[in-house]
Symmetry: C2
Subunit: 263 residues, 2 copies
């Protein structure tokens, strides 16, 4: 394999373009638009009607989309694609029992996420029972810069990659406590790096506090983050630190160890 891959294809290549369009049609379906007409899909994806028709029919032929009259919807076969990723990550098998135990002991929901672009993507989630749990499923995204797992993942990046990420942050005051500018954000990330965990106190949403710790591979590189989230009225930040931090750090270390042994 001596030839460099990069020489064979460019982002403007027609194959790349057409494949990207196909995937964009899949991603056009959501809670807001679970069923769409051809015209709606074309509009949402910036395609011509002919282009959208071709892709929808392709997806229908392949079993990823079904048509009901004029309305198109995704089929569960789509899950095979996400499942290919999840099952190719041995991490989550090791992590799940540890996270179940943690969530059970702490009676708080527990999640794991990885960094993707400027977002964290949830890869595993164990909801707390009997309380209103935070409604975030596997595959959902949140901006990294204002979430506890995101800060842990950002703190684990090499300096150059961190700068790239910071340059792209679009600040938005979710609450009065949200970091407002690069200086504030840098200070908070530096603190996470030095202490080895992150507490976010209502920066993303009023009432939501969360605590995250890194999962590291055998090279000491942060590859994922583990967190527990809670409601501030029930579990104020001090209680979260006192009751949950030691157990969260322990769980993150267990998962890291399992991963380092088995991978």
């Amino acid at each position: 394999m001596s030839e460099p891959l990069e020489s064979t294809l460019k982002p403007g290549d027609s194959y790349v373009q057409s494949f990207a369009r196909g995937l964009s049609v899949i991603r056009a379906f959501s809670a807001e638009a679970p069923r769409q007409t051809l015209t709606e899909v074309a509009k949402r994806c910036g395609l011509t009607r002919a282009g959208a028709r071709r892709i929808l029919l392709t997806l229908e032929t392949l079993g990823y989309v079904k048509a009901d009259g004029r309305l198109f919807a995704l089929t569960p076969k789509i899950l095979d694609l996400g499942f290919a990723y999840l099952s190719s990550q041995p991490l989550w098998q090791f992590a799940e029992p540890v996270m179940q135990q943690l969530a059970g002991e702490l009676k708080e929901s527990c999640s794991a996420a990885v960094l993707e672009g400027g977002d964290i993507v949830y890869v595993l989630r164990v909801p707390a029972r009997k309380i209103m749990s935070i409604n975030l499923g596997v595959g959902s995204r949140l901006p990294a810069w204002c979430t506890s797992m995101g800060r842990v993942l950002l703190a684990g990046l090499p300096p150059a990659e961190l700068e790239e990420q910071l340059a792209r942050v679009q600040f938005h005051s979710h609450t009065a406590r949200t970091a407002r500018n690069l200086d504030e954000l840098r200070t908070r990330i530096a603190q996470v790096r030095s202490q080895g965990w992150c507490l976010i106190n209502q920066e993303l949403e009023e009432g939501l506090v969360s605590l995250a710790a890194p999962i590291v591979d055998r090279n000491g590189q942060t590859i994922a983050a583990l967190n527990v989230g809670a409601q501030v009225n029930r579990t104020p930040p001090e209680a979260l630190l006192e009751q949950c931090l030691p157990r969260l750090l322990e769980a993150a270390q267990s998962i890291s160890r399992l991963l380092q042994i088995k991978s």
Copy 2:
């Protein structure tokens, strides 16, 4: 939209083919092959090296694959595709709290699945705490004919569709109790249809018992199945029926009702 979609594209069309190949490369990654060389991907997908290279580079350009030296792996961006499906199904939002309560009360894991091809595909799963839970994540598949949710989903099909499904069943004796032929399977499906629920006693795996009930839409059509699974030593079939069946049927009806009101 007067033109019939079917006239514009055929399965043999080059666009369909190339899109299908791209998706097959995504699906080539798994727990057994999380990281692969170009040659391995080509072999696994039945593609030429040039063809596999083009697709891998496309996926890399689009952020769905990353290369580490000669090895390619999927990125978590892949989850966006599966998430598009899950978030487009309002059912699962309504179902999750009901399933969490059910799993908590019964102390057994609780899942929901839909029919896709001849398989059931898990769309939601609430694992039981503190026991070895059945290791099946969202997006994983099992053959419909020998699972409790599969039998419920098959029992809910119109006769012609059921016949299509039955014609494709490949019988395999997972255990001594597995249905061995079409006659046995038909009898068991008919029983499920008449009683409105399904008990599977170790037909798929020794030691595994499970109980499923249908989730129906406002037209009375079965659109998903709900189940609880247990270990036979801890929960024999009689106990499962006595302790779990009434609560499972109640939960399935609650979800069906929520769905009928809100969709």
